[in-house]
Amino acid sequence: MIRIKMIANYRAVLPPEAKHGVIEIDVPDGTTVYEAISRFDIPLNDESVIVLNGLTVDMNTPLKEGDMVTAFSAIAGG
């Protein structure tokens, strides 16, 4: 089981059972960050920022039990 977190406008791609933008999903062993996040309808280019457990990682990093992949739209603000 891993967790997917979508922030702000990206929450729209999650199923209704998501709580505060987070859902749990089961993925086969060896699934990478890229493979897990590509199940969701968000741009997988430089329009999105994707982090693993809050860290900047290679998209080919394999996931471990309990990991959290978070995605948000790359946009200036703050």
Partner: protein
């Protein structure tokens, strides 16, 4: 001349004498406008060592060559003066409508000198300039003041004013324009208050003539189209303003929480953009001619925090909210309204209360002193403190000095999270290293608005940088500092400039902005020239700091950032690694190893050597 009026208005508040002056076209070109022109005049005319709250300090309102042009977000002005909070430079940016109206008076710059003997406001209706009594609005909040002054001048006028906080010289006092927009940071409102200047009212029809009106129209349409395409796709800035950011920084573990004791907040979903949107958002509100429209009109319809106004933006959530451990959104929204009405910078206000909360919890200050318990998360106490600060009542007197002086007075300077005595904004530099270097070296003290490398470290704009790495950050920080000096001098808003005007490729980065400035002014700038001019502006500001007594010895980070590793989140165990970046940064800036601009650098930029 085009784009710029090349005219400044000078008002001596002591004598009420009003003069107008021409701006030398070469100076205009070399210093770009806005923030650049302002530091040119400030450095030339004022001893940087003056007491910031004395009549000798000069207060400058400065528009840029793109203000009041069709350029999208050409709606900004800068307030530049010596800061009473930091003792360094203050340059605070604001949008809304006032800056456009100010430029339509036919002047690019207003310079206020001296001190009025009684409260006054200045009405500028093109060439008709009057210094009028403000006795009837002194003591009133920014909203009432704005309404009264518009009613007695014109519905067509726009107002920038201070509230009680500025009158009472609170060091976090802001200058509010159009009620809800703030030139917030570094105590610019206290400088206005020290001059007995309650408000500036601007009106007129003198749009600056443009060098190439058709070209400007075309490039503006093009830029607005790109913004519009994002808005159509569901841009967070349109839907949430910056209030979506707490979820981002919480995910990265750099969300200021309980005076930076933590980097994540367990109740973040109570105070994030979704909560705000679902509960209190009425609609988005734009500054003048902004296709992005990131402002939020909100309302708490009933209950003890009932009210209506604008905000909160991210920086307010991360200071008055998570910074104070506050998770009651209605109270946080109300606190934001109060800061706007009293005329206060929410960042310094919130983070000063946060320090007081930590001092109270640690037993360094007593309930007796404060007048009530002041625990993290106590939103009613937080609101009570805001009022005390604005009105200088009781313990509010201590709070109104900001967190650095507060912590020092009660023997715990290590608790103040400041640089150059100014409170940190919403990115913990232990988990965003570039931001640490930025805060340590910023000419206005800790600020994200002086070269926000969080755009790359946090938001991936225009490219993603690893926030934990120090590598390449000196170059990045310099590049962003110069870029922000350029934007602040041009009259555009950074939100749109960084994302939609600057190129991803750093080599041709400012090309479109240079083109816009040329279409406006006809100056024929190359991209290299505008970046060099921005470097000139930044370096002259540094010279001001050195003479003001806020030189390289202040290029430091506070104790907590260097010695207390983050206890939680993805950046757990990390501290800010300033010493790894500072020497290379000095080198990149053309400063010597001690942090002073070299003679060669000053000559290269055409700056005075002494």
């Amino acid at each position: 001349m085009y784009g710029w009026h090349l005219k400044l208005l000078r008002v001596n508040l002591t004598t009420h004498k009003v003069t107008t002056e021409d701006v030398d076209p070469q100076i205009a070109r070399d210093y770009l406008g806005g923030r650049g022109w302002a530091i040119h005049y400030l450095y030339k005319e004022m001893n940087p060592a003056v007491d910031p709250l004395s009549p000798e300090n000069i207060l400058i309102f400065a528009t840029g060559p793109l203000t009041a042009t069709p350029a999208p977000t050409g709606n900004r002005y800068m307030v530049v003066t010596k800061s009473p909070l930091t003792g360094a430079l203050a340059h605070s940016n604001s949008g809304g409508e006032f800056p456009t109206w100010m430029k339509r008076t036919g002047f690019d710059l207003f310079i206020f000198e001296g001190k009025a003997s009684e409260p006054v406001y200045v009405l500028v209706n093109e060439d008709q300039v009057e210094v009028r009594s403000a006795a009837h609005v002194w003591g009133k909040d920014t909203h009432e003041t704005t309404d009264i002054l518009k009613a007695e001048t014109s519905a067509e006028a726009r107002v920038a004013c201070i509230g009680p906080a500025g009158e009472n010289l609170a060091l976090m006092a802001a200058i509010m324009n159009d009620k809800h927009r703030a030139a917030a940071r570094s105590g610019v409102g206290a400088v206005m208050g020290s001059k007995n200047l309650k408000a500036v009212v601007a009106m007129g029809n003198k749009n600056p003539p443009l060098h190439d009106t058709e070209g400007m129209r075309a490039i503006s349409v093009e830029t607005s189209k790109n913004v519009g395409a994002d808005v159509k796709k569901g841009s967070n800035m349109r839907i949430y303003g910056t209030s979506y950011v707490p979820q981002v920084t919480n995910t990265l573990g750099i969300l200021p929480t309980r005076n930076f004791l933590q980097g994540t907040f367990e109740h973040v979903h109570n105070v994030d953009g979704d909560a705000l949107k679902d509960q209190y958002l009425i609609r988005h509100t734009p500054c003048y001619r902004c296709p992005l429209s990131c402002g939020r009109l909100t309302e708490v319809p009933d209950g003890p925090y009932k009210g209506k106004g604008e905000g909160p933006e991210y920086e307010t959530i991360s200071s008055l909210g998570t910074g104070c451990g506050v998770s009651n959104l209605a109270a946080l929204v109300k606190a934001n309204y109060l800061c706007n009405e009293y005329g206060m910078d929410t960042i310094t206000t919130g983070m000063t209360i946060a320090v007081a909360m930590e001092m109270y919890e640690k037993g360094y200050i007593s309930e007796e002193l404060i007048g009530m318990p002041l625990k993290f998360g106590d939103h009613d106490a937080m609101i009570a403190m805001i009022k005390k600060m604005a009105y200088n009542e009781g313990f509010g007197k201590d709070l109104a000095m900001g967190s650095y002086r507060l912590a020092e007075k009660y023997g715990h300077p290590e608790l103040a999270v400041t640089t150059r005595k100014q409170e940190f904004p919403g990115y913990d530099p232990r988990g965003s290293q570039g931001m640490g270097l930025l805060y340590a070296t910023s000419n206005k003290g800790a600020s994200h608005m002086e070269g926000d490398v969080a755009y790359e470290e946090v938001f991936g704009v225009p490219v993603k940088e690893n926030p934990h790495s120090t590598e390449g950050k000196p170059e990045l920080v310099k590049h962003f500092q110069d870029s922000f000096a350029l934007i602040d001098s041009s009259g555009l808003c950074v939100f749109v400039a960084i994302r939609y005007v600057f190129d991803k490729n750093r080599l041709i980065w400012p090309q479109t902005l240079a083109t816009m400035m040329n279409l406006s002014t006809g100056a024929g700038y190359t991209p290299e020239e505008v970046m060099k001019a921005a470097d000139r502006v930044y370096t002259l500001e540094r010279m001001f700091l050195i003479k003001a007594g806020s030189g390289p010895e202040w290029d430091v980070l506070p104790y907590r950032m260097l010695h207390e590793p983050l206890p939680d989140g993805p950046a757990k165990g990390m501290v800010a690694e300033l010493d790894k970046m500072l020497p290379e940064f000095y080198e990149k800036r053309g400063w010597d190893e001690k942090g002073y601009p070299t003679k060669e650098k000053l000559m290269e930029l055409g700056l005075p050597i002494n």
